[in-house]
């Protein structure tokens, strides 16, 4: 390259760009990415909310680190908050109170940090649901699903470690629950607890240790995984919803420059602004009301942050009496069953793309999203999972539900136990039927048009409602899905059918047996003139 020749008159901007490009080759990146097309849909914003709330967390969290002291040394509080003056507490708690009551804007940043953290986990969860219900996890995006899943787990870990840092009464009780759960793990539980807390609970180490995880290790991993996650989005190019002109081989939307720079960049500020409004008007985690951690007192109606609710709920819903002494050791199934059960649940979430790919035998790339109704079994499985999670989550507030609605504690627990066990099956059945019904409705609209609301009286006195045909672009959205058939049992080279094949065929049948075929051209022609 001959730089002297490539330089053009462009004033200062041109000169600066040239300076930069000659040292970084940035023009290549601009050429590749500047006009890259992204499709538009509101549901694609959920992942953006997650990304932006993470940026907000980093910004507000950095501010907090300048004031927070992760020490469990005992001091007598001497800050501005009068009711706690002179009370013995850890330095961590005292510095959290100082951030809240003695640093201008400190409380605001604490609340921004906490609200953004709640939003971070929530938006990741919704983003995952969007990915799931539209089938965006299918090839080639299975690995990005795994990365996203790990990010979800890490986000919850970040949330929990951060929640524990102020060393207040509520977070200390949360840690005590973790300690109790860890101790229930066979063989190694006692020692893990001992190592985690640096001796007996609560010890003087845990806040410092969680702080290292919270501000260094976990964020570093999250940043790296987000970078990888986004890199894959660029490599795969974004999925798009079915629509006229859209195919599996193109991506239709707006370019990064200028439209997405404006819309996505602007959206960051909107998310930040909404978090700021929350932090200005709504108190979150008022540690001054709880006081410092003390193992003896506790307040009624203790609640973890929302994303820990499902685990706390699982602990509450376990039936009584599941703990035995066997072979000279204590087996705490009242802790193991929730631990293993939740492990299995999130394991299925993690592996779902691979399970579905195996059952369906589908090895093609998918860039057009499924409308949830067009994958009834998958959508129904998702609804079952959501119901299971929701039941556990509600259980974390069982006492609040009981006091608020004047119900018995026992009644609420028993009801939620039923919801968690039976609810998924009911949700599965209903969702699948609803999906099939919606597909039938789509067929109906394609073949006979939509109801126009115009009532016409025929000469014979009969009233009919006029049906209007949909235009071909609308119609395409309703007919452009693939019709799958269940896997057939075929003998292998030795003329045998392996048991695994049998299982697979069975699952495939379960997956695809009930289905509504998309309207074809023949049917469409036959239905013409049928619109009235």
């Amino acid at each position: 390259m001959k730089p002297a020749e490539t330089k053009k008159s462009g004033g200062f901007t041109g000169a600066a760009a040239n300076y930069l490009d000659e040292r970084t080759s940035i023009s290549t990146a601009v050429k590749e990415l500047g006009r890259k097309i992204f499709p538009d849909h509101w549901s694609f914003l959920l992942g953006e909310v997650a990304l932006y709330s993470f940026v907000i967390i980093l910004l507000s969290g950095s501010f907090l680190t300048f004031f927070f002291q992760a020490s469990m040394a005992e001091v007598h509080y001497d800050g501005s908050y009068v009711p706690l003056k002179g009370v013995e507490m850890s330095v961590a708690m005292a510095s959290s109170l100082d951030i809240s009551f003695d640093v201008r804007g400190g409380l605001l940043m604490r609340q921004v940090h906490h609200w953004a953290a709640l939003l971070f986990v929530a938006s990741i969860g919704l983003h995952m649901l969007r990915i799931y219900f539209t089938g965006a996890f299918r090839k080639p995006r299975e690995l990005n699903w795994v990365i996203g899943f790990v990010l979800f787990i890490l986000a919850m870990a970040e949330g929990f470690t951060g929640y524990s840092l102020p060393d207040d009464l509520l977070s200390g009780n949360g840690l005590r629950i973790i300690d109790g759960m860890v101790k229930g793990i066979p063989v190694v539980g006692t020692w893990i607890s001992f190592l985690l807390f640096g001796g007996e609970f609560p010890g003087t180490d845990i806040v410092g240790r969680l702080y290292s995880l919270h501000i260094l290790l976990l964020p570093a991993i999250i940043v790296a995984l987000i970078a990888l996650h986004l890199l894959f989005v660029v490599v795969h190019k974004h999925t798009q919803y079915p629509g006229a002109g859209r195919t599996n081989n193109n991506v239709v939307g707006y370019p990064v420059l200028p439209v997405y720079a404006a819309k996505a960049g602007g959206f960051f500020f909107i998310v930040f602004g909404v978090v700021m409004l929350l932090a200005s008007f709504f108190t979150i985690n008022p540690i001054w009301n709880y006081g410092p951690y003390d193992p003896s007192p506790v307040s009624a109606g203790t609640q973890p942050d929302w994303y820990i609710g499902f685990a706390d709920g699982a602990l509450r819903l376990i039936p009584p009496g599941l703990e035995w002494v066997w072979l000279g050791h204590t087996w705490s199934f009242n802790i193991l069953i929730p631990l293993v059960g939740l492990g299995l649940f999130i394991g299925v979430v993690l592996l779902y793309p691979f399970l579905e790919a195996w059952v369906t035998g589908d090895k093609r790339e998918h860039h057009i999203l499924d409308r949830p109704r067009n994958a009834p079994t998958r959508t129904a499985i998702g609804a079952a999972g959501v119901t299971f999670y929701a039941g556990l989550w509600a259980a974390a507030s069982s006492d609040i539900i009981a006091t608020h609605f004047k119900l018995t504690m026992e009644g609420v627990i028993h009801t939620l136990q039923a919801v968690v066990i039976l609810g998924p099956f009911i949700a599965f059945y209903i969702t699948k039927r609803v999906c099939l019904a919606l597909q039938k409705k789509d067929r109906e609209i394609v073949l006979h048009g939509y109801e126009s609301g115009r009532i016409v009286r025929l000469p014979g006195g009969e009233y009919i409602e006029v049906h209007q045909p949909v235009d071909e672009y609308e119609r395409w959205k309703l007919v452009s899905y693939a019709d799958y058939k269940p896997l057939e049992l075929t003998p292998n080279a030795q003329g045998k059918v392996s048991p695994i094949q049998r299982v697979r065929a069975g699952l495939s049948r379960w997956f695809f047996e009930d289905r509504i075929a998309p309207v074809g051209t023949k049917e469409l022609e036959e239905s013409h003139g049928d619109h009235h």
Partner: protein, 357 residues
């Protein structure tokens, strides 16, 4: 825009990328032979701002007004920082400080964001562009070259041929992180046995029961019928080290009820005093303090996971996830009338652990 419109006609069916995928009829799409054809892109619909110059002008005004508003918000936040300082010992000032800095910042952020989005939606070029997709896998050539590179590297290094070198390298790589794992033993003190620690508390014969948090000893005569107290061992508050650790094990709840309401097994008859019983306050489920005592029913409720214990009947579990009753602290009265412990708890308190039995 970004590419020509030709790809709109490119109506290959959804499974076009599965060229190599011949074997499995398994679950692949049953593409109906008479599938409806993709109609191609619908005609572009211009926006109001494309058609009406006044609307365009209005949108422009909205956008720059919002950006100016954002500047106002930022300046307001800075002003609020100074106008609403935190006055020591005045919580109201904290609220105003929080509220007004926050409102300023929220205005700055929201106006900026909404302005930018509105600019993008109402004024920027609105026709959608099209990018072509290609299969994610590398081309056959690229893949062949990649394989070749690995083969060359293998030949040139002898990685596959010199098996002793390879295997010893793998061995070294597997073993080298182990010292780091061992170092983590230092997370907990070397000279303590967790099991022994978990099996004992600060209570011993003659320790007086003291009020939490004041630490003043309790006379049996001060415990009125139906009342309950949070109790700690006397001297706990004076501990230099390990105060919270000891409290986490030795916290006790003291309850007095009518002796005739109390169901007592023969071996525990001497553990109470005139209807006064003392039980560990640490839940046997996962260790929350069992704080809520219901006088009428003699039930203790753990607020964390709703285990309920019947104080009248050995603190047995009557509901919830806990299995074991709360351990009972045997108590008596000394010559001055103060409540004392007869001994430590006779079993470990708190949540279960593997070596408990």
């Amino acid at each position: 825009m970004a590419s020509d419109e030709t790809s709109g006609k490119d109506l290959t069916p959804a499974d076009s990328s599965s060229v190599e995928h011949v074997t499995a009829a398994a679950g692949t799409a049953v593409v109906a032979r008479d599938a409806v054809a993709n109609p191609g892109f619908p005609p572009h619909r211009p926006r109001v701002t494309d058609l009406d110059p006044r609307a365009e002008k209005r949108a422009e005004r909205t956008v720059y007004t919002l950006f100016y508003l954002s500047i106002v918000g930022s300046v307001f936040a800075i002003a609020a920082y100074m106008i609403f300082p935190i006055v020591p010992e005045d919580p109201g000032s904290v609220r105003l400080n929080n509220l007004f800095i926050g409102i300023g910042l929220a205005l700055a952020l929201l106006a900026l964001g909404i302005g930018a989005v509105h600019w993008g939606k109402a004024l920027m070029h609105d026709e959608e562009g099209i990018d072509e997709r290609h299969p994610v896998r590398g081309s056959d050539e690229t893949r062949a070259r990649a394989v070749e590179i690995f083969q060359e590297a293998n030949t040139e290094s002898g990685f596959g041929r010199r098996t002793l070198i390879r295997n010893s390298l793998i061995g070294a790589l597997v073993v080298f992180p182990l010292p780091a794992v061992v170092l983590f033993r230092g997370l907990a003190p070397q000279d303590q046995d967790p099991v022994a620690l978990l099996k004992q508390t600060m209570w011993e014969k003659g320790t007086r029961l003291a009020l939490d948090p004041s630490g003043s000893p309790i006379k049996a005569s001060d415990v009125t019928l139906g009342s309950s107290f949070a109790v700690i061992p006397e001297g706990l508050q004076d501990l230099e080290h390990g105060r919270l650790e000891e409290k986490a094990k030795s916290a006790v709840i003291l309850v007095r009820m009518k002796p005739e309401d109390l169901i007592q097994s023969p071996e525990r008859e001497s553990w109470s005093y005139d209807g006064i019983v003392a039980y560990s306050k640490i839940c046997t489920h996962v260790g929350c303090p069992v704080g809520l005592y219901e006088q009428q029913t003699h039930h203790l409720l753990c607020p964390c996971h709703q285990s309920q214990f019947d104080v009248a009947d050995h603190a047995k579990v009557i509901f919830g996830p806990a299995k074991r009753p709360l351990p009972q602290l045997p108590i008596a009265v000394d010559e001055e009338g103060y409540l004392i412990a007869q001994s430590d708890f006779l079993e470990p308190v708190g949540p279960s652990f593997w070596e408990r039995q």
